[in-house]
């Protein structure tokens, strides 16, 4: 019936049928998804690996130090003759730096995002966004020296009581480091608000600022908040900047002018330090690492919850 049709110089369907008979394997269709699933599973294995890595030494640590002391103690003196292991000073140190970073990065980052998405021309945006992303790509060790050798001395001219090691300088620098994360991700969120929404608002006589603030920002809120939380978790996990410019004095206070120590900086201190293998100090870095892991996990859950809760339907 089909062959009854026009004269064909080539019978492609016949050729296709021939190739089929030769059995061009269907195997790939079956194997490929399995292989791909395995690659996807690597990320899960990594998480399992992290927990596995941390859990044994952490358990050993809590065999030596009471869990209660750890989470409520306000003294972190692992190297003292009579050591104490209250993690709160390290947590406070981390939060001080993170807090300052957020205070710097959120208003600036949002302003940049709004400028790029609502005011700047396409050309300017395409130029500035990658340049700003360089800020996120600067190695943290570079930032660390910058903070220690440039920012701190500068700040000391303004605040004479500022010590060499303090929370302020690394906080500001981490703020600059996470600024592109907030700016870039928020800009994505703002830009993905449909233009129809802006047109609707402009059509009613709004100025650009009103459109940005009253229509676009609320519509992109979930993305913006998620970017902030993500940036916060980067600030919490930041290591080299605080190691170099924050100091190594875990103190339980809210002073930002004096030396601090963060959870990450503690791990670096011990990793490059003198503490003997098998000592409580050795195990403590795993406990602190685990605490960090829990912190970032929580941040992530919060981010997920935020994007669900504030997701706008349009």
């Amino acid at each position: 019936m089909v062959s009854q049709k026009r004269e064909k110089s080539l019978d492609v369907q016949q050729m296709i049928a021939d190739k089929k008979k030769k059995g061009l394997g269907r195997k790939a269709e079956k194997i490929v998804p399995i292989l791909l699933f395995i690659t996807a599973a690597v990320s899960v294995l990594t998480t399992i690996g992290i927990v596995f890595t941390l859990i044994f030494e952490t358990v050993e640590f809590f065999r030596r130090v009471s869990f209660w002391e750890y989470i409520t103690g306000t003294e972190w003196l692992p190297f003292a003759g009579d050591p104490s292991y209250g993690v709160l000073p390290l947590v406070i140190g981390t939060l001080k730096v993170t807090g300052i970073a957020i205070i710097v990065a959120v208003p600036l980052g949002l302003a940049v995002a709004i400028y790029l998405s609502e005011f700047a021309s396409d050309k300017v945006r395409r130029l500035i966004k990658p340049i700003l992303e360089v800020l996120a790509g600067v190695p943290t060790i570079v930032y660390g020296f910058f903070a220690l050798t440039f920012v701190t001395p500068m700040l000391q001219k303004v605040f004479p009581s500022l010590e060499i090691f303090n929370a302020l300088s690394p906080g500001i620098i981490i703020g600059i480091m996470i600024l592109p994360t907030i700016a870039s991700l928020s800009e994505d969120a703002l830009s993905s608000v449909p233009n129809a929404m802006r047109e609707g608002a402009f059509g009613l006589g709004s100025t650009k600022f009103e459109v940005a603030l009253k229509v676009v920002l609320p519509a992109a809120l979930s993305g913006v908040l998620a970017s902030i939380v993500l940036a916060m978790s980067r600030a919490i996990g930041e290591t080299m900047i605080v190691s170099l410019a924050g100091g190594s004095t875990p103190l339980f206070n809210f002073d930002v002018e004096g030396s601090i120590q963060t959870m990450t900086a503690y791990i670096v201190q011990v990793s490059t330090g003198d503490a003997g293998y098998g000592t409580t100090i050795y195990y403590s870095i795993y406990a602190v690492g685990f605490t960090l892991f829990i912190f970032t996990l929580m941040m992530n859950l919060i981010a997920g919850w935020i994007s669900k809760k504030f997701r706008e339907e349009y």
Binding site: D122, A196, E199, G205
Partner: protein
């Protein structure tokens, strides 16, 4: 009497030698078009002929596209709106716009309607309540939404959303309403409702409507402009355009030979 009234109608818009380019794309060519008040003016033409572009020029919304250039003039109530000094925000409070796809803000119905008045400085709760009700009534949707004013507008059906958008536009009491294919995303019944609404609104507003549905243009408009490739081929009373067009291309188009 009807004839008399027609004679008295003033032009809301007078377009003289309007040209518009998107970069190098010459999208509008030497447009001359006068639009009367309290009338429904339909703009028809095949896809890409410049209908939306022209409509968006009337409230300068087209400027949101980067790289747009215009020459010529558009006088709205005797003022050339293409003048640099002309305040677009003011223009747009006088000229409302309804879009092809319903585009309510992701806020409550109430906040959608109150948005315009609010940005224009009306804060008084009582007044806002009154504006919201009046606008929703004006858009023939009050009864359907009065019990859920504080629900998100995205919970409504497409046809309802479109009428909320019309209400939002009425809330700033514009002089002119621009509509860009306002029913093309709607089902037949919603379409009918919007068409009826347009008929009512023209008592108080001047309406310019872009449509790809020729029967719709024939049904609801007083005058019709036929665009092709960025030019106005013919502009006349709707009767004339559909029953006895002057230009062969108009005839081909309205009889469905292309587009």
């Amino acid at each position: 009497m009807q004839v008399l009234k027609n004679k008295q109608r003033e032009n809301v818009y007078e377009t003289n030698q309007l040209n518009l380019w998107y970069g190098n794309n010459h999208a509008l060519k030497d447009i001359n078009l006068n639009i009367q008040e309290n009338n429904v003016t339909a703009i028809i033409g095949p896809s890409g002929c410049g209908k939306s572009t022209y409509l968006k020029t009337l409230n300068r919304m087209v400027e949101l596209v980067p790289g747009v250039r215009t020459t010529g003039e558009i006088n709205y109530r005797q003022h050339n709106i293409l003048d640099k000094g002309y305040s677009v925000e003011e223009l747009r409070t006088k000229v409302g716009m309804v879009f092809q796809k319903p585009n309510p803000f992701p806020k409550s119905i109430y906040d959608n309607i109150a948005y315009g008045p609010r940005i224009h400085g009306i804060k008084n709760k009582k007044v806002l309540d009154q504006i919201v009700e009046q606008s929703l009534r004006g858009a023939a949707i009050w009864d359907e939404v009065k019990d859920r004013l504080h629900d998100n507008a995205y919970g409504l059906s497409g046809g309802q959303q479109q009428r909320v958008c019309i209400a939002r536009c009425l809330a700033i009491e514009p002089d002119v309403i621009l509509m860009d294919e306002p029913t093309s995303a709607l089902d037949p019944i919603s379409t009918l409702k919007v068409e009826e609404l347009v008929q009512e609104l023209k008592e108080n507003y001047s309406i310019i409507i872009v449509t790809h549905n020729m029967q719709q243009a024939a049904r609801i408009s007083d005058k019709t402009a036929f665009f092709l490739n960025g030019e106005v081929i013919e502009f006349d009373t709707t009767d004339k355009i559909f029953s006895n067009p002057t230009d062969k291309r108009t005839e081909d188009y309205v009889s469905g030979r292309f587009g």
